[in-house]
């Protein structure tokens, strides 16, 4: 199933008279890492949730290739800022998702555990994992069944530099293997390291949508200038 280009046309979202997203238009046709950047409260996570389908889009403003969000649900997964794991072992957490996605269970789980170097914590209860380990398990859960799109909501914002680096490497690897990545971040150094396409939001509006080099080189707006210099 062809999932690109993703097209968002005139998407707006208001909660109790407060405009969270204003007239969002996005066109992206490359399997690269797209970073949705912006300051706190700019609407990054809301936009990501709309793209994933966690927030329903009644106006059908979003399409993936010639498909609606509903049609591509099986091909996507999401990683949250605070990893959400079940009260089970690492292996059982990944197995749970494998069962739900109806993939070759034990074989796939073992392969992913090996790929992300999770062997040492495979039988550890999720409650006893560190923040970084939890996020790695959450990523392992998200890649089972080889989704074509992965959404990551600030996956490294609570991690130390070592885990941050490890998770960025995993994300880059996934992108190289052909997975389309959409990730929110407000960490400018991270955006520089792994970002390829940037969508920059300010107060619910897109004020930049383009390549990383253009984002860093052009003097687009004071908001972006400040964001880059203070980040």
């Amino acid at each position: 199933m062809k999932i690109l280009p993703i097209k968002i046309e005139n998407l707006s979202y208001t909660i109790k008279d407060s405009e969270i997203l204003k007239n969002i238009n996005i066109f992206s046709d490359e399997k690269k890492i797209t970073i949705i950047a912006g300051n706190n409260g700019s609407g990054k996570t809301t936009l990501l949730k709309f793209m994933h389908g966690l927030i329903e889009d009644p106006s059908n403003s979003i399409s993936w290739g010639s498909n609606s969000i509903r049609e591509i649900k099986e091909q996507q997964s999401m990683v949250f800022q605070t990893p959400i794991l079940l009260n089970r072992t690492t292996f059982e957490n990944i197995l749970y998702v494998a069962k739900k996605k109806k993939v070759n269970k034990k074989h796939s789980v073992n392969k992913i555990i090996e790929k992300l170097n999770l062997e040492s914590i495979s039988n550890t209860d999720a409650r006893y994992l560190s923040g970084g380990e939890k996020q790695k398990v959450a990523i392992a859960m998200s890649i089972i069944g080889n989704p074509t799109i992965i959404f990551l909501d600030e996956p490294t914002s609570q991690l130390d530099p070592v885990y941050k680096n490890e998770i960025e490497s995993i994300i880059s690897e996934l992108s190289k293997d052909g997975t389309k990545i959409f990730m929110t971040s407000h960490d400018i150094s991270q955006i520089k390291r792994i970002g390829e396409e940037i969508i920059f939001l300010d107060k619910g509006e897109i004020i930049f949508n383009g390549k990383l080099i253009e984002f860093l080189d052009q003097d687009i707006s004071n908001v972006i200038k400040n964001y880059i210099s203070y980040g």
Binding site: H52, S77, M78, F80, I84, L86, V97, K100, K101
Partner: protein
């Protein structure tokens, strides 16, 4: 005098006195039957209420919470009027039988189990809401996952229901009639034996009830640690 009573009570327990065993067996049979029926209804229902949040759900929870505080004798009275010869369920002919006592205990603990199940599963659903929805699961699948994830908490809820049912006296006295060798359970026997001055058997039964309560508390405490 107290030492004599206690000595006789322990004697009754350790010699496995026939009357004592019969009363304990019936008590456990009635309470466990009521508990099983209640849990089968209440746990899926409590979880269902979490997933299908609407106005009806708020009303059901409100009713359930109100029924939690209903005096057992009032409930016993209501059941009595329903299952007595002139009641709408009179044709069932269950008044003054263990079946009527099971009905009373089931109705007594169901609101408790529904409300506590709802609370536990609602807490868990708030934690897992994004995760479960991101997997595009059916509501049935979410329900199964939530019940499994709350398993220890739900055992605690079940034990709370058991404790409540086994300690109940008013409703089972009204609908069971406290008939010797037929509907006499621990709580009604304690009330009856004490009133006629035969305190030894009442003390022995009281000790057993305290032991059951202690064991339930111990299990709940251990489960809380696991949780």
């Amino acid at each position: 005098m107290l030492s004599n009573i206690l000595e006789t009570a322990f004697h009754l327990i350790f010699t496995l006195n026939e009357d004592l065993i019969e009363i304990i067996s019936l008590s456990l049979k009635v309470t466990i039957s009521a508990l099983v029926i209640s849990v089968i209804i209440s746990i899926p229902f409590g979880a269902f209420l979490v997933l299908y949040r609407n106005k009806l759900q708020s009303m059901v929870i409100l009713i359930s919470n109100t029924l939690m505080g209903m005096p057992p004798v009032v409930l016993g009275l209501i059941i009595y009027t329903l299952v007595s010869k002139r009641g709408i369920f009179g044709f069932l002919d269950i008044l003054y039988t263990p079946s009527a006592m099971i009905v009373a205990q089931t109705l007594l603990i169901t609101p408790i189990v529904v409300s506590l199940t709802y609370e536990e599963i609602y807490k868990k659903y708030k934690d897992y809401y994004l995760f479960l929805n991101s997997l595009n699961l059916s509501n049935f699948s979410k329900l199964k996952t939530l019940i499994y994830e709350c398993r220890y908490a739900l055992i605690t809820v079940t034990l709370t229901g058991f404790g409540r049912a086994s300690a109940e006296v008013g409703a089972v006295m009204i609908v069971g009639g406290n008939i010797n060798h037929f509907t006499r359970v621990m709580t009604t026997a304690i009330a009856f034996e004490t009133s006629k001055g035969s305190i030894e058997l009442a003390v022995a039964l009281g000790l057993i009830l305290i032991l059951i309560s202690f064991m339930i508390t111990l299990i709940i405490k251990s489960l809380r640690k696991i949780k």
